[in-house]
Symmetry: C2
Subunit: 287 residues, 2 copies
């Protein structure tokens, strides 16, 4: 989800082309977005005016233009699109993020994927889980996001594995499912253990030569177990649509299924374009 | 505790001079320690041979020479000193760290401060808490370290405040004691809340303009509350000697006293020299 991505889409939502660049919002100031977009799609033959639908951090306070957070409960596409200033021939509309007052929370980008998921399953009543640096758990019912919760598990794991003292005994990406499962169970049943078990990974490496891939799997398990303990009201007894791919998706699915949760794995990319298509349909409906 | 520190000490333990350098074990390989030490004290008139007592990461696997971990329960000075190779005129002895098999844990450096504390209070029966990047909780009784536990609270706070998405809404070192107290209480009573409350600091900044110093105090409170939940068997109903200074010491003392714990604050520096003096006395006793 990092960086800039662009899809050329036909009237009917068909994807004609897609491009991506590492040049994302972290590297751009407000004036930098439009040149970055134009450079990425320089050879596309755009109609004039060309409708550009955007979501994600392009709509953050320091993005191209700020698209406000709509307050849940509301449709994932919230209050509609924010018209943003753009140069010759571009008609730019940005999908706003979602905000929640209590407990305070925000998402930006994920709301479009949720809208995309609802486009295919308009009657879905359950939870959409979107793992990432920040993982979102969203309770969805009657076409609305009812409430949501963010955990920083992905970002925490990356920081601990690359910057903390644990980096000396970890090998990120290492696979040891039994160690992962055991660690999930430890912090799910005793979330307070997280604070005392993390450094034990370093000690196990020094005293007992714990393999680096085991330490890595255990760290992810400890963090994910703590997240599952915190998000229990979201997944317990609910159908969970897990929007993700790769290692993170595999581990979230494994941990949830270990709790007897019915998990449906959904790849994220088609949901983005489906969500943008839904935003466009709303635009037409409003016109 | 980072970097290299050296004290010139008389026979009776009196400190004659002290020096410090940023050039610590993280920046040195095995061959680099002796030149770094000699450069730091180049103008001291050393006897020959000169007894050098050392502790901390100088004795780690990638230190000057490895001084093994003694297994608790044992005296904080464990199995005695490791004689390390050194050049002309230096008689180098390194204090070993402490290790614990279940749960796996290690410390290196803190054992010397504990020995220093016991030198002044040989009959102490209680808990020594040493906040740092890694905080150690040691149960001490009858002159021995019975068990200990490490938490990564300091390191976690520093990483989250400087590298994670929370850096955008935090001001490290900010002071807001009511916010700190409330956050400690939240994760002490519900440790699983840590996973869901951290990102809320970012959301509170975006939605409700939470002041950065409040966000910082809350983050430290959430982390410390989780640590206190994990270390409850250590501090509950025990006298706690809190070895520290500055902000970390103040917040640990505040949080512990909030739980009705009897806390004695002890500055760390005199404990290091007292601990090294105790190591020297043992050396003489053994000779």
């Amino acid at each position: 989800m990092d960086g800039l991505r662009a899809w050329a889409m036909a009237e009917d939502g068909t994807v004609l082309d897609d491009r991506r660049s590492d040049l994302g919002s972290a590297a751009l100031d407000a004036a930098g977005f439009e040149p970055a977009l134009r450079a990425l799609v320089w050879d596309w033959q755009l109609p004039s005016p060309c409708l550009v639908l955007a979501c994600g951090s392009v709509g953050a306070r320091h993005g191209w233009a700020e698209a406000p957070y709509a307050r849940v409960p509301c449709s994932p596409l919230g209050d509609g699109l924010t018209i943003a200033p753009a140069g010759d021939g571009l008609d730019l509309r940005i999908v706003g993020g979602l905000g929640q007052d209590k407990p305070a929370d925000v998402m930006r980008g994920e709301e479009t994927l949720i809208a995309g998921y609802l486009a295919g399953r308009p009657d879905f009543d359950g939870v959409v889980c979107l793992p990432g640096d920040q993982t979102r758990w969203a309770h969805v019912s009657a076409g609305e996001v009812v409430s949501f919760q963010t955990a920083m598990t992905g970002e925490l794991f990356a920081l601990l594995a690359s910057e903390s003292i644990l980096r000396l005994t970890l090998e990120p990406g290492g696979r040891d499912d039994p160690a992962f499962d055991a660690a999930v169970g430890e912090t799910m049943s005793r979330p307070e253990a997280l604070a005392s078990r993390m450094f034990a990974l370093r000690a196990e490496g020094l005293l007992n030569a714990m393999p680096p891939e085991t330490a890595s799997a255990r760290l992810m398990g400890l963090l994910l177990g703590a997240e599952l303990a915190a998000s229990r009201p979201y997944w317990l007894g609910r159908e969970v649509a897990l929007v993700g791919e790769g290692d993170a998706m595999r581990l979230y699915a494994r941990a949830l299924e270990g709790q007897g949760v019915q998990v449906t794995v959904v790849p994220p990319d088609p949901l983005i374009t489906a969500g943008l298509t839904a935003a466009r349909a709303r635009l037409k409906g409003a016109a």
